[in-house]
Amino acid sequence: MRTISYGQAINEALAEEMDRDGDVILYGLDVAAWGGIFNITKGLLERFGPERVFDSPISESVMVGAGVGAAIMGLRPVVELQYADFILVAGDEIFLKAGMWRYMHGGAFKVPLVVRLPSGATGAGPEHSTCPEAYVMHSPGLLCAVPSTAADAKALLKEAIRLDNPVMFFEHRRLYQKRDEVPEGDVTLPFGKGVIRREGRHVTVVAWQYMLSRALKAAELLEQEGIEVEIFDPRTLSPFDSGTLIESVKKTGACLVVEEGYRRLGVGAEIGAILMEQAFGYLDRPFRRLAIPDVPMASVKPLVDRVLPSVEAICDVCRELAA
């Protein structure tokens, strides 16, 4: 199968969906003439014209709020916020408008809105570096995708655009260049269905996006020590595929969540609570979390590296759990 990058996969998904459905529009900062500051929307302006692909003012509240307005009137807007952190700049619009407009009007509207959110630590400082999935996962009315491979990025984005509910679509910037096999043609993936990326019997590790690549590396290293790590990639966080996870934990009896968000009330907290409620008898070792230790992301690399869960840290915890 051909390999393309995660960024290209997203570009393809956008192009295919815009081709398929004239109601899909795309806007954001620098997405048109430039093709996106991360080069994800290259060529789309040329292909679909300025009525459907356009640059916007630096007005995050409108970027998201107008997405809601356009969606309730029948368009299917795809909005790029330049950094995922900016969901908090458009907080009312993301959480109280996109998440609630349908509910508070008694289901009169559909809100087929996709907000693309480049995330992750690249040394761009506290306000341009985070993985704020937890804010979204906490909030009713929003779906949340966290694709980890090029193939998933494409398939989940195509699905997101077709869904009638608002989707916060996290794209990890450190993955944009990563190449993977991506099938040609119209492939989608359902939300709420995770995948076992690697099988193993000693410990279940939950990880996605950039942390998934670290978890996979750790698993390779641990294999040489005879520790078999099973790795679960949830693909979407809302909805979250607790079924597959619980099956895995039933087998391994131990669970570690590795994430790039803040630790306190990070995604791992919910996973821990789910396990405690629903897999209580099966876990025979303490649940563990590796995450950002509740400090903002600094600007210089060594400080960033200091707080990102490392391959070694993952190995260490897995060793403890497997001991």
Partner: protein, 316 residues
């Protein structure tokens, strides 16, 4: 000048809105309805005049002040009462109460409970109208207080630079709850802010339905022609409190304000013009009361919403 039948219609609807709202307040005092209504008394004439300059299906995002927007469009009275009362037959299944009335066939697209939240939503509605339904226009009502939200600026700039078919109507009633506009707002006329977006900004007297209609008609013509949004400021009169039971201690003009009631002025005018006489108005009022009675009875007879409605309508 507004044609006579149009003026008579505006008056009739404003009269109904006033009676209906008074009933809602009474039902609130009696405990049948929760105290969540922000009375629009004093602002109905302008609200209805504004909407009468538009087509029935031009989408409206309304402001929290009163029910006249819905009356103008013909939304069912009992549905609105049911929304407040939590009975079956409402428009939003208990989710949004009177703040989020929705009536799509009549172009009522609801409201943002966070002030200014609708401004940004309206921009996207304008985008969609232009693309899918050219010639239609979205109108958004909001207060002077809400005009100090950042969303006002972002929305008007965006709508202006993209020449979207949007009409922004600021009802400046001089107050945001207890805070006078002069304390919160650096300009006397909100309409002056239009200069920051290169769009027309006009001030109209909320007691002058001709002026309101003309301003909105002009804005609509511009919008439909692809010339972009307009900002219209209605100098409005809030006759009652922020909410019905507001003691209004902060308000020096609480007693005298009733003399500035635009509905009373319009009443005098329709009589002077010979469109209606006192007897006809009384008959009209009685008919309204009867209509309201029926609506109230219907709601009282309707079953309470199933509490499990709390779980529906979240995802499509």
């Amino acid at each position: 000048m507004i044609q006579n039948d149009r003026l008579r219609d505006i008056f009739a609807k404003a009269l109904l809105a006033r009676s209906f709202e008074a009933r809602l307040i009474k039902l609130t005092a009696e405990g049948f309805l929760p105290p969540l209504l922000h009375p629009g008394a004093g602002q109905e004439v302008a609200q209805i005049a504004a909407l009468s300059a538009l087509k029935r299906d031009d989408p409206v995002l309304y402001s929290h002040r009163g029910v006249a927007y819905m009356i103008a469009r013909g939304t069912s009275l009992s549905a609105m009462i049911a929304d407040m009362a939590g009975r079956a037959g409402g428009t939003n299944n208990g989710k949004g109460g009177i703040m989020h009335v929705v009536d799509l066939p009549n172009g009522i697209y609801g409201e943002s409970g966070t002030l200014g939240g609708g401004l940004v939503v309206s921009v996207g509605m304008g985008m969609a109208l232009r693309r899918r339904d050219p010639g239609r226009v979205v109108v958004h009502f909001f207060g002077d207080g809400a005009s100090n939200r950042g969303t006002f600026h972002e929305a008007l700039n965006w709508a202006a630079v993209q020449k979207l078919p949007c009409i922004y109507i600021c009802e400046n009633n001089g107050w945001a709850v207890s805070v006078p506009t002069s304390v919160s707002t650096a300009v006397e006329n909100i309409a002056d802010r239009a200069a920051g977006y290169g769009i027309p900004g006009v001030v109209v007297d909320g007691a002058d339905p001709d002026a309101v209609m003309a301003a909105v008609a002009n804005a609509a013509r511009r919008a439909r022609a692809g010339e972009g949004p307009s900002l219209i400021e209605i100098k409005a009169t809030r006759l009652l409190g922020h909410y019905a039971a507001d003691p209004q201690d902060y308000r020096a003009d609480a007693a005298s304000v009733a003399q500035r009631d635009p509905l009373a002025a319009l009443r005098r005018r329709v009589i002077e013009l010979g469109l209606l006489d006192e007897a006809e108005i009384e008959a009209m009022t009685a008919a309204h009361e009867a209509e309201i009675d029926l609506a109230v009875e219907a709601v009282k007879a309707a079953p309470p919403l199933d509490a499990d409605q709390a779980f529906t309508d979240l995802y499509a």
